[in-house]
């Protein structure tokens, strides 16, 4: 966006902490961070909203300089702090790479593979404002809710049907155009490319976008060559600050105290997360209890058996078999421990759908290509497996919530006089 693009001079001005550069920098950071966080930014957003957003985003990513959070909300000062933050983000988030990837021109049939929660709007905040008080006049009929729910369900079903239809068509196109693509790794056309063959005159814009993206990529390559200069320059900025800092050391003590703003302010994020953590813990604790019982039971049985046949087992060479069994169990559980560690290659974002037969004889193999560097490829089988697990755990979570409702409503039912409730 043109508005967010700062002049090269802005950076220089920021180095000297010129206030004029502050606003530009705030806007730049806002535009960049909004893209990363998946939002659609409105340029009409008031500057203090933009600033608030940038501050939260920086906090979210763990940026620790208190001076930044204390910058005024009208954007009138602090360009040097912003310059620092910008450079920090550049490296910490891989800003350039991320933005390039995010804005990639789509020529293929793409879909996402991650199981993360979609960007659901913050429902909780909304309801307390929009839901009317339970005054007699403003009542919402619960049957309206039921109706809405039914409609929602119906729409999900139609969406499902449409997706399935789409799959059928995608599959056909992929199958029928196999072997036609310039790019061997892909092998077949996407829907866009197939249409491109039919009506190339409609895709002039696509070509332009491809060209301009290529130019951006080349600019990126240039940047990579000159990167050292930038970081060295940033060091001089820090040098400047250090010199000045020695002069106003006394002010820093105040800064420390003021660092922690209102702890009383309700933190929605933390609440949400602790809720999730609690649910997971509860889940695990039930599992733990179950395991505890199971293990105790089994262990007792095992010890008895072993005691009875101790000599016999020694003769059979059981200890060696036992060791082998231990090793194999360790191997089996290794898989599990790897699951609990954060995955480095966890993929978010889009992938291009490619039809590839599982023939071991095929030259492409899986993710390898003869002519080029191996392209990272994920198999649908894997993704499906993960999705199934995710589905199972979400189902369980939903069931837990329903269970809770049942309990609470049972309690209410006791209070209803003259009525007995029999749940189905």
């Amino acid at each position: 966006p043109a508005r967010a693009r700062p002049a090269p001079d802005t950076l220089r001005r920021a180095r000297f902490d010129r206030p004029q550069a502050s606003l530009d920098f705030w806007r730049l950071l806002y535009a960049l961070l909004k893209q990363i966080h998946g939002g659609r930014w409105t340029e009409s957003d008031a500057i203090d909203n933009q600033i608030g957003f940038v501050k939260s985003a920086l906090w979210y990513h763990g940026y620790d300089r208190p001076e930044l959070y204390q910058l005024p909300a009208d954007g009138s000062a602090g360009s040097r702090e912003l310059l620092l933050a910008f450079s920090w983000l550049l490296h910490r988030l891989g800003l350039l790479e991320r933005l390039l990837a995010r804005n990639r021109v789509k020529t293929g049939d793409e879909t996402s593979v991650c199981t993360c929660e979609d960007d659901l709007p913050d429902i909780q905040k909304g309801t307390t404002e929009t839901m009317p008080e339970c005054g007699l006049e403003d009542r919402v009929d619960v049957r309206y809710l039921q109706w809405l729910n039914g409609r929602l369900r119906f729409q999900w079903q139609s969406l499902h049907a449409q997706h399935q239809e789409q799959c059928k068509l995608l599959h056909k196109i992929h199958l029928f155009t196999s072997g036609s693509h310039v790019d061997q790794v892909l092998g077949h056309f996407s829907v866009t490319e197939t249409d491109l063959v039919r009506q190339p005159e409609n895709y002039k814009q696509l070509l332009q976008l491809l060209e301009s993206e290529t130019m951006q990529l080349e600019a990126f390559l240039e940047w990579k060559q000159l990167e050292a200069v930038y970081w060295q320059w940033m060091e001089t900025v820090l040098d400047n600050m250090a010199e000045e800092g020695n002069m106003c050391k006394s002010q820093n003590t105040h800064v420390e105290k003021r660092r922690l703003p209102k702890l009383t302010s309700y933190c929605h994020w933390a609440d949400n997360l602790t809720g999730q953590i609690d649910r997971l813990s509860k889940d695990l604790m039930t599992l733990q209890d179950r395991l505890h019982n199971l293990v105790a039971h089994r262990k007792a049985a095992w010890c008895e058996k072993v005691k009875a046949r101790e000599e016999e087992l020694q003769k059979e060479g059981f200890p060696t078999t036992a060791r082998k069994i231990q090793e194999s169990v360790e191997l089996k559980l290794l898989d599990l421990t790897r699951l609990c560690a954060p995955k480095e290659n966890k993929m978010h974002g889009l992938c291009r759908l490619v039809l590839r037969s599982k023939h071991p004889a095929s030259k492409a193999g899986f993710g390898q290509c003869v002519s080029k560097e191996p392209v990272s490829a994920v198999s649908a089988t894997e993704v499906i497996r993960e999705l199934r697990m995710r589905e199972a755990s979400l189902q369980r979570e939903l069931e837990q919530l329903r269970e809770e409702c049942r309990h609470r409503l049972d309690a209410v039912a006791e209070g209803l006089d003259g009525v007995i409730c029999i749940s189905p």
Binding site: I36, G38, G39, A57, Y60, H61, D64, P66, K106, T111, C116, E117, D118, D119, L120, M131, Q146, R153, W156, H160, A161, Q164, Q166, L169, T177, S180, D183, F189, D195, V197, L206, L210, T214, L221, A228, N252, R259, H268, W269, L280, L284, R298, K299, I325, Q326, V329, L339, N345, V354, R356, G367, A377, V378, A380, L394, Q395, R406, V412, G418, S423
Partner: protein, 335 residues
């Protein structure tokens, strides 16, 4: 074969020439509600609906639209193109006479199609540029300078360095742990059957003990994360915490990964499951909101006359997905 005039002869919109961008925009809305009845016959009835899939739909302009929508649009667009071919294969004898000679079906000619030259050039240049970017690495000087800068900026922070994880990390760890319980459960289920042999028993026992350790570790990790959460409250600005940013490996980000499926069934399963997961997310969110709004109504206010019905409605909605009803019986002795 690139046919501009011919392909329109099958009843595809005669509005080929003019760009119907606005029309397609609304056409997709029009299509959607009408779909449910026609989904089965979609490919067959495509010729009738082809005017809504007029060709003036440049994918280029759609880059900002969510991928799902674009895929859907593109898929709909191709209905027309394929409608002809699928119609032909659905009727017996796929190689029968084609009403419009020269176009052929996608099935027949698909593998001989060639992308137009300008696109091919642009595409190759583009993909080569991507590859170069993917492979290029930071020079040693730059990396060193950068590391120095980052370190210095950390030390300028005027309070003790963070002892705890920052929000993005916390969320990431939590995300990882989401699936662990169900995976663990699977393992436990596998061990519940009584093993026949002595070795089997031993193996089962060891496995269960190993699982116990893992569960304990996970609980510990969760405990720590929780502490981190509450520790971070101090500096958060509650007004606008950003939607979950996606932290992924920056190096790998420049290569567009491929999602390879090997059969039609796989593709369908993939889409179905994605939708299912998405639906469950929504259902959970809805459930929480409804609980927060509806339960207090029953729990707090006194019980006026119609409350039994209200109770039943709420019970249905919250506990049975709106599918079945509890039975309410009057507790009266017959006269």
């Amino acid at each position: 074969p690139r046919t501009s005039g011919k392909s329109s002869s099958k009843g595809v919109a005669s509005k080929q020439g003019g760009s119907q961008r606005t029309a397609t925009g609304s056409a997709t809305e029009v299509c959607a509600p009408a779909e449910p009845q026609k989904t089965l016959g979609l490919s067959k009835s495509a010729p009738n609906e082809q005017q809504s899939f007029s060709g003036g739909h440049s994918a280029g302009g759609k880059n900002s639209i969510a991928a799902g929508q674009e895929l859907f649009d593109a898929g709909k667009k191709s209905c027309g193109f394929l409608g002809e071919s699928s119609k032909k294969e659905d009727t017996a004898g796929a190689s029968g006479k084609s009403p419009s000679p020269g176009t052929g079906t996608l099935q027949e000619k698909g593998c001989q199609l060639k992308l137009p030259l300008p696109y091919r050039k642009a595409y190759s240049r583009n993909s080569r540029a991507w590859e170069k970017c993917h492979l290029c690495h930071t020079s040693a000087d730059a990396a060193a300078a950068r590391a120095r800068f980052m370190e210095r900026i950390q030390t300028t922070v005027s309070f003790p360095s963070r002892l705890w994880a920052h929000p993005a990390e916390i969320e990431e760890e939590l995300r990882v742990l989401q699936d662990v319980p169900s995976r663990l459960r699977q393992y436990v289920e596998a061990e519940t059957a009584d093993p026949p042999t002595l070795q089997g028993e031993y193996e089962s026992l060891l496995t269960l003990e190993g699982l116990q350790t893992t569960v304990a570790e996970c609980l510990q990790k969760l405990h720590l994360l929780r502490a981190d959460c509450t520790g971070d409250v101090g500096s958060c600005s509650p007004a606008c915490v950003p939607a979950r940013g996606q932290t992924c490996d920056t190096a790998g980000v420049l290569a567009l990964p491929l999602l390879c499926y090997s059969s039609f069934q796989e593709l369908r399963d993939l889409f179905a499951l994605k939708l299912q997961v998405s639906m469950l997310h929504q259902e959970i969110a809805l459930q929480k909101v409804l609980m927060a709004e509806l339960l207090p109504v029953l729990e707090l206010s006194p019980c006026p006359e119609g409350s039994a019905r209200l109770f039943r409605a709420i019970h249905t909605q919250l506990c049975q997905r709106g599918r079945s009803f509890p039975v309410l019986v009057r507790d009266e002795l017959g006269d």
